[in-house]
């Protein structure tokens, strides 16, 4: 698959002198892929994302987004990228929902009726048409996230970048958002790059997970299952494994070795199967 993003050997020095060095594995996002960047607070997830958006300039290393260096040519690729930064609240800058969702279209110089149509479409898709004329500060947290997302999706980007989108959402809103993102990925083939420290959401959305350690090192990558089998690696990097991962790990200690499953349904099936087969054997004998 075509590579949309590749970051390698990135080094960035903060104004206070701290250095973030993205060593180790190259960071890659391919077309249509759902990538999760997992790491503790302060591991540099946001910094990495800021580099992809051309907001920071690396002192070393290469960054390619759609084949160009975003620090220099972000305007060339900006319509192909949708962004939802941390604190959605601060991402909504226009006075009404409609204005905010149409913000980038208007600034990119789209035609008026095109704008109307595209905004209508995206509001419909996210099911927030009724909020059109609302003022952002009267929206709930979940609604704000959706409005922010609508603003990011309105240009029909090929790559959607989300920085800690689950922050401040309650579990129900979070699940909603995950379903929505998966749908967008499925229907439009939009690649998704998402940073989070909420590990429980990872299995529900990720094709590929990158684990970042403090200081910016990319420790490992892999599918959620591969990653969560390496419990020691996770805990070494201050990442708490998901509950089910730990459960299977604990079971191993009791001598019960089962395939790791990361959704409740699968896990229940695996465990129940194991118990049933044991029982059946009992019966058969």
């Amino acid at each position: 698959m075509e590579e949309l993003v590749r970051v390698s050997g990135l080094k960035y020095t903060y104004p206070d002198g701290t250095v973030l060095h993205f060593r180790g594995i190259d960071f890659v996002v391919r077309r249509g892929e759902k990538v999760v960047l997992l790491g503790p607070n302060g591991s540099g997830k946001s910094t990495l994302i800021f580099h992809l958006l051309g907001l920071l300039k690396a002192s070393q290393g290469t960054i390619r987004v759609f084949g160009v260096d975003p620090a220099r040519d972000y305007t060339k690729i900006r319509e192909r990228i949708g962004v939802l930064i941390q604190n959605v609240e601060e991402q909504i800058i226009a006075p009404t929902v409609w204005d905010d969702v149409s913000f980038s279209l208007r600034n990119y110089g789209y035609r008026k009726d095109d704008i109307e149509r595209m905004v209508e479409e995206v509001l419909e898709k996210l099911d927030i048409k009724h909020l059109k004329d609302k003022v952002p500060h009267y929206l709930s947290g979940g609604e704000k996230t959706k409005v922010g997302l609508a603003g990011a999706l309105v240009t029909k980007p090929e790559l959607l970048i989300l920085d800690e989108p689950f922050e401040g959402l309650d579990p129900v809103c979070r699940t909603d958002l995950i379903h929505l993102l998966n749908r967008i990925n499925r229907e439009n083939g939009t690649a998704i790059l998402l940073s989070t420290h909420n590990i429980d959401t990872v299995p529900l959305i990720a094709d590929t997970v990158y684990i970042m350690a403090a200081g910016g090192e990319i420790v490992t990558k892999g599918s959620p299952k591969e990653i969560f089998a390496q419990l020691d690696l996770l805990s070494r990097n201050h990442i708490e494994p998901p509950v089910l991962g730990s459960l299977f790990f604990e079971l191993k200690k009791y001598g019960v070795e089962l395939d790791i499953s990361l959704t409740v349904e699968e896990a229940a099936k695996v465990i129940a199967d194991e118990i049933m087969t044991s029982r059946k054997k009992t019966l058969h004998l």
């Binding site: 305007t75 930064i85 800058i93 006075p95 208007r106 600034n107």
Partner: protein, 276 residues
């Protein structure tokens, strides 16, 4: 000055005044303020003020609150009046009523029209930077107000606000403002990032304006025209002075009638007096 409440009332109101087009209400403000400015006749000024009171009844908003919000400049006007006192109470009254009338006009506008609508109406008359500055200020205002609420809450919980220790309160408030400023700079930085990422090129807000003319527009327009022409006539045709009293009686009558109407039908007694 409770900005949160004002904004809420403007955004949530459903009266015909709220529904009227912002442009029409701008014309209303323009002509009313003009009428107030050009006239020097106290009777006319009081009549205009009473007409404005009637209009504020029609906004379906808590009446006393509206009037009290609009009474703030009276403090300054009284100051100007006292300062130039020469024994003529009428002259002072004229000064005060001009300020009161103009303020009430503005307050009716602001309580029935969301800020951003007003900004987009004045957009053609101001540089783009200022308009976008206004939009951003408006947006930042509510984020900062929330921060300030949190801060005041923390202050109360931690004993940082005591009724009589002004010195301590002053110090703590200053720290709070400092805190808000520091947070504000962070906020500005993030706004900047967002604007860059989303391709800001000098257009922030309010593009979606429906240009429908509804009957409440016509109503407001007619009243405005009446008041304005009366004020002009009284100002420029001296022989018309003696009719200004009729204007006063008439506006008073309308005010009383609509007052009763509202007490009875729309709000109930409590609502008219003070609905929080």
């Amino acid at each position: 000055m409770d900005i949160g409440i004002i904004d809420y009332l403007a955004n949530s109101g459903r009266s015909f005044f709220h529904r009227a087009s912002p442009a029409c209400k701008m014309v209303f403000v323009l002509l009313f303020v003009l009428s107030i400015m050009i006239t020097g006749d106290l009777v006319v000024l009081i009549s205009i003020y009473i007409t404005l009171l009637t209009l504020s009844l029609l906004t379906d908003l808590p009446f006393l609150r509206v009037v009290s919000i609009a009474s703030y400049p009276a403090i300054f006007a009284v100051l100007f009046a006292i300062a130039s006192w020469n024994g003529d109470p009428i002259r002072s009254a004229v000064i005060v009523f001009k300020a009161l009338g103009a303020a009430l006009t503005m307050v009716i506008l602001i309580l029935t029209t969301p800020y951003h609508r007003i900004f987009s109406c004045i957009r053609p008359f101001l540089p783009q930077v200022i308009v976008d500055g206004l939009f951003l200020t408006y947006r930042a205002l509510f984020i900062l107000l929330e921060l300030m609420d949190n801060f005041i809450r923390a202050l109360k919980i931690r004993g940082g606000l005591s009724p009589r220790s002004y010195r301590k309160n002053l110090r703590n408030f200053a720290q709070g403002i400092g805190l808000l400023l520091v947070r504000g700079f962070d906020l500005a930085e993030r706004f900047y990032c967002v604007m860059r990422v989303r391709g800001y090129s000098g257009r922030l807000g309010n593009e979606l304006i429906e240009r429908k003319f509804i009957w409440s527009d016509i109503f407001i327009f007619i009243i405005t025209l009446c008041v304005c022409s009366l004020s002009f006539v009284v100002r420029f045709r001296d022989d018309f002075n003696r009719f200004s009293l009729y204007f006063l009686y008439f506006s008073l009558f309308v005010f009383v009638v609509s007052g009763f109407y509202h007490i009875g039908k729309v709000l109930g007694v409590r609502g008219v007096l003070w609905k929080s």
